[in-house]
């Protein structure tokens, strides 16, 4: 449909094709999960894939986990609203993965037998620090999981006409099934294949767009009609750059998704894998974001910003004569990006529940067989909770994005705990709490794109002060002063 060069499109494939695509991919993941799951001989194998993950699998799983539905759907929104700085802002989250490389070396040394990020907070900040961490990370992880379940349901509804509840349930069932069968072995194995599909898909769509667009005309159109998108001094975009980078640091540094991968990788592999995954991930939001900048020049009217990425991709591929194959390709790439994050979150969050709450707080002992049973209950429990919240389509997106201050407030406590010999625990914990409060207040009361920045700033100031006021020697995991 085109009128005066401005059009609206969002064609879709038949629901039968969408069902067949998702069920086909889902069956493949479940079979692979079952196959790889046989390697998990005990609880440690199930949780940490035998602590023997190599470079290729390690890099791929970190990259695929970081390519979430948000990368494919929200990065274009950031570019659409904040322009070139917006694209770079989203990509700056890659630095979180790269900086986790030196942290991973230290984590492996301090906690050679560690299982979760909770182990670190318990040893370094005691029960109060552990409790604050658990509260923040469970809130964040569950909402992150719910946003992806919702994104999956909406994606299948938009592209394939599958009713929201059916699509969302289908994606959750598939991810739960292969995570149950194989634990982290299955998650990492499927992540490897999913990361290849994502990379190939993004490169293919990117090349098609480059072939389709005249960059000179695109720049001219944007400069005239959307001048702030190419302005070096766009205030909101500049703030978003620092805010997103710190949001990314906070997400990666604290979340058990990344700690469990650090524990799972071989000592010499972990730092390289995180650095390589950051490098591989960096261009993906730029490619996804460029889709949004191309919307205006291609004459696409955006009515719902959240759909701009798939909308432009589908338009370009359709224009290139790819017909319904275009929709299938987008569906496959987005399904892989969603599944690769849902499975990781299911595994890492259930690890926290089993290891930190059931075994740690509950002081329970488990055999390997018993461990698998409890882990399975935890995975299903987390999935059912996420499914229930996704069912009502609660506005968890707002909760997730407003949590920037929460996760950013954990950046400096993690750094201090890993590298500093002396600090005052109470001042660090006060900094986390005040950083969280500042993050929320600034997000809701001033501007949404400064929550993480303000939360990190307050926490950093307190953590630095803790090194000089009432600082005491801290003990590492093995009981030695670091």
């Amino acid at each position: 449909m085109e009128e005066n060069g401005v059009m609206t499109i969002f064609a879709s494939i038949s629901s039968t094709t969408a069902w067949a695509t998702v069920i086909g991919l889902g069956a493949l993941w479940v079979l692979l999960g079952y196959y790889w799951g046989k390697k998990a001989k005990d609880g440690e194998g199930f949780m940490l894939a035998g602590r023997n993950v190599g470079l290729a699998l390690g890099s791929a799983t970190a990259m695929a986990t970081w390519v979430t539905s948000n990368t494919m759907m929200v990065a274009p929104v950031l570019a659409l609203e904040k322009g070139v700085w917006g694209m770079l802002a989203y990509s700056s989250a890659a630095f979180g993965l790269m900086l986790f490389a030196p942290l991973a070396i230290r984590i492996k040394k301090l906690l050679p037998e560690g299982f979760t990020a909770g182990d670190f907070f318990l040893k370094k900040y005691g029960r109060p620090g552990w409790a604050i961490f658990m509260l923040i990370t469970l809130l964040y992880s569950i909402t992150w999981l719910v946003t992806m379940a919702i994104a999956g349901g909406k994606l299948l509804e938009a592209l394939g006409g599958i009713p929201y509840m059916q699509g969302m349930t289908l994606i959750m069932v598939v991810c739960v099934a292969y995570t149950l069968f194989g634990g982290l072995f299955a998650v990492i194995g499927t992540d490897f294949i999913q990361s290849l599909i994502i990379l190939i898909g993004v490169v293919f769509i990117g090349v098609m767009i480059v072939l389709k667009l005249d960059f000179g005309e695109t720049y001219e159109y944007v400069s005239v009609n959307q001048p702030s998108l190419v302005s070096v001094m766009m205030p909101a975009a500049l703030l978003a750059f620092f805010n997103n980078m710190l949001f990314g640091f906070g997400e990666v540094f604290h979340n058990n998704v990344w700690w469990s991968r650090a524990f799972a990788m071989r000592d010499d592999v972990a730092p390289k894998a995180f650095f390589v995954s950051g490098l591989l991930w960096f261009p993906i939001p730029i490619a996804a974001g460029f889709l949004a900048l191309a919307a205006g020049p291609l004459g696409i009217n955006v009515t719902d910003a959240s759909k701009v990425g798939p909308m432009v991709a589908e338009h370009v591929l359709n224009e290139s004569g790819m017909g319904s194959f275009a929709s299938i390709l987008i569906l496959v790439v987005l399904f892989c990006s969603i599944a690769s994050s849902i499975d990781s979150l299911l595994a890492a969050t259930s690890d926290l529940l089993v290891k930190d709450l059931y075994l740690g707080l509950g002081k329970k002992k488990l055999t390997d067989h018993g461990f698998r049973k409890v882990a399975a209950v935890a995975i299903i429990g987390v999935a059912v909770l996420a499914w229930t919240m996704a069912k009502f389509e609660w506005n968890v997106g707002l909760v997730l994005y407003s949590a920037g201050g929460l996760v950013a407030a954990l950046i400096w406590p993690v750094i201090a705990g890993l590298f500093w010999k002396t600090y005052n625990r109470n001042i660090v914990l006060a900094g986390i709490v005040l950083g969280c409060i500042t993050g929320y207040v600034t997000f809701f009361k001033i501007e949404p794109y400064i929550g993480a920045l303000c939360g990190a700033t307050v926490s950093m100031v307190f953590t630095v002060i803790s090194r000089f006021v009432g600082a005491t020697p801290q003990e590492n995991y093995t009981g030695q002063t670091t």
């Binding site: 230290r106 959307q226 620092f242």
Partner: protein, 149 residues
């Protein structure tokens, strides 16, 4: 329910009714939908989400933008069947928008104002951001080098 003996006559009635409804829709003025109590839209980041009331199926709408309310030098921002448009990348300043069903009357102008964050606050936040990021990266790399050595 209209009953005729001839399907041909029924089709004629139906086509005439469709054309009539389309022409009526085109003559009516389309109005913007704005939040209650707000006569002017505001934005702190150059993003405006405009929407207008539907005038029926198949109607083509035209949306114009101008920097003055008399629309002396308007820019066509959209022409098509959607009942809204998400505009981004606007520079600071006042804008006026009007919409119509193609061939119909223009709506009353809708005023929008784009004002970015106060520059002093911006610089304080940017400097804070730079300091926190630089300190974070520096502390990690320093800590790593020290612990490795």
């Amino acid at each position: 329910m209209i009953r005729t003996k001839s399907p041909f006559l029924f089709s004629l009635f139906w086509i005439a009714a469709c054309i009539g409804s389309f022409l009526n829709a085109a003559e009516e003025s389309v109005t913007f939908t704005v939040p209650p109590g707000e006569e002017m839209l505001t934005s702190a980041d150059g993003v405006l989400s405009l929407s207008w009331e539907s005038a029926g199926d198949g109607v083509i709408y035209e949306l114009e933008q101008s920097v003055d309310d008399s629309f002396t030098n308007p820019t066509m921002r959209y022409s098509g069947p959607d009942v809204g448009s998400y505009l981004t990348g606007l520079a600071e300043g006042d804008y006026f928008f009007r919409v119509r069903a193609k061939g119909g009357e223009w709506s009353e102008p809708l005023r929008a104002k784009v004002t970015f964050i106060d520059r002093r606050v911006l610089w304080i936040l940017l400097v804070s951001g730079f300091v926190v990021v630089a300190a974070t990266v520096g502390t990690i790399l320093t800590g790593w080098r020290k612990t490795e050595s």
